[in-house]
Symmetry: C2
Subunit: 340 residues, 2 copies
Amino acid sequence: MVRATITDVAKRAGVGVATVSRVLNDSGYASEKTRKKVMEAVEYCDYEPNLIAKSLAQKSTSLIGVVISDILNPFYAKLIHAIQATCDEHKYSIILCNTDESKEKEREYLGLLSSNRVNAIILAGGRGIGESYNNHLLEAARKTPIILVNESVNAEGIFCVCCDKEKGAFQMTEYLIGLGHRNIVHVAGYPNFKPTQERLAGFLSAMHKHGLPVGTDNVIYSDYHISGGYATACDILSRDVLPTAIFASNDLMAIGVMNALQENGIVIPDKMTVVGSDNILFSEFTTPSLTTIDHDVALLGEHSVRMAIALINGEIPHRHEMIDTKIIIRKSSGKAKVTA
Amino acid sequence: MVRATITDVAKRAGVGVATVSRVLNDSGYASEKTRKKVMEAVEYCDYEPNLIAKSLAQKSTSLIGVVISDILNPFYAKLIHAIQATCDEHKYSIILCNTDESKEKEREYLGLLSSNRVNAIILAGGRGIGESYNNHLLEAARKTPIILVNESVNAEGIFCVCCDKEKGAFQMTEYLIGLGHRNIVHVAGYPNFKPTQERLAGFLSAMHKHGLPVGTDNVIYSDYHISGGYATACDILSRDVLPTAIFASNDLMAIGVMNALQENGIVIPDKMTVVGSDNILFSEFTTPSLTTIDHDVALLGEHSVRMAIALINGEIPHRHEMIDTKIIIRKSSGKAKVTA
DNA sequence: TTGTACGCGTTATCAG
DNA sequence: CTGATAACGCGTACAA
């Protein structure tokens, strides 16, 4: 349990600590002979460099903080996976924080990560960032570069990488309209959430473009969870006039919607079309398989890390990066049933 | 971007650094007057303690390393969630490493975490730990306490917290037998993986107890992924004599199995019963909903962290902790169809 | 109750 | 090419 220090190694090798450091980091010169002596001593002492001390000396930790709203959502799990993998390639480690969608925890974690001197922070699923002004976010950004995933804030030190959710929702809506659907309900997520608003915007603009009426019944806000989708579908089912298609703002809610529908004997897609967004792993394995919008999460994670590292290296990347989306057509969507 | 140090705060407050430290950490005395002066200076300087320097001085990082085999598996996502939440309660942060089931990466991460001087390491889904002797694991454990989740190794510095998977599998098998099933296929996971072996043991012992024959056809090894379950089910379907029930070693494979079955027109559970293990979120929302074994992952994560912290605090917990499991009966299981 | 000075393990500068 | 030595920012005896 007692660990060797660089001094121990230096003594054992009969050299100075600077030499050991140089050899280990391949910085500066070192004769082949001393190099060998040092490596032997390292081996002998079972020496492992203390990254904490290194961080202190170099004022850089090789740590990136990742703040996520809900790791239980496969979308974010996949994002974390991509972030971690890309960080690993670049010799960064991640400190993971999960806020459970709590704004307060988000705030705490930002401070904690700052105290831990992470070199950058990647924040995904931040609640209510878009419209409402988040003082703590801006403040944190003055000390640590922040990369927002799927959000966008126009401020110093805050950078964003997003999927083109508006376009994706627009395409999806046009696809539904192309299938003959005219009464489509969009199950939106949290109101003050950028992705919610973007997808809603895409939905509305497609509806308008095709001259379809959009009333208050056509948009319902929910919470991005299965249970929320379920409850919303139940509400919809109590209506006199049912829509022929439901477009949920994420797959989790779509799954909840399908569940409620099926429990009420509504066959998908024969009687009702259901589509989602995110293309989580399980959307392929629901019954019927779910038509959805794919976001290339791997790319999303990769780019956010690239941006973080660029910032760390003092480069100034574009403040806003956009990733394309595409529609995945499966079996939960079909032609609108001809109403009597 | 320039951060204040404790010295800056001390100067501003007109006190010594020790006083600032004492005030901020509530250690030692400090008059109300100086306390106030210090707090004002902290505010004025926008001071955030440097945890890196603190770690170096105290030889403790408040960091726990988490090594996971597959964060994309909802079981592990849930585990991470629990681990992170519990760590947070105890003022620990986590460095997350995902091995993608690579033994080599696991090895690398162990070293990296050790260099980062994490106070403990929680390892879940470690590949092939049980039987084959893992030198690097034992070596790492001599420097950093290691907690194995769902694995068990009897060695100095290695502690384990497991679910009683054997019992769970035993109960599940008895449940199936109780439904009249006699020809049951167990789709196992990776052969050299403790959970695989435990569930297999439970399966076998229940079959034996009830005098049911178990041939080579009754156990098939796969890979814990949806695709693996799918492929395995396809294999099974090509047989002359089909089983009446399939018990997959995790829910992911069970989902793959159900998918393959349904694609071939086999109605679940009328023609075939399918059950899994893990009770991941989605097992409730498959069609039909999946009968499975619940593991109380939250408790699993919580206990692993508690054990880690106990070890950090120099306590010596039991080397092995066990968490109970229970069967969740849903709609994918039913009475064995009466064969002609 | 408060301040000084040292140690934590590295890196980096600067003579040699 | 190599070796002292001064930072890095904090906690903490120890002294006052």
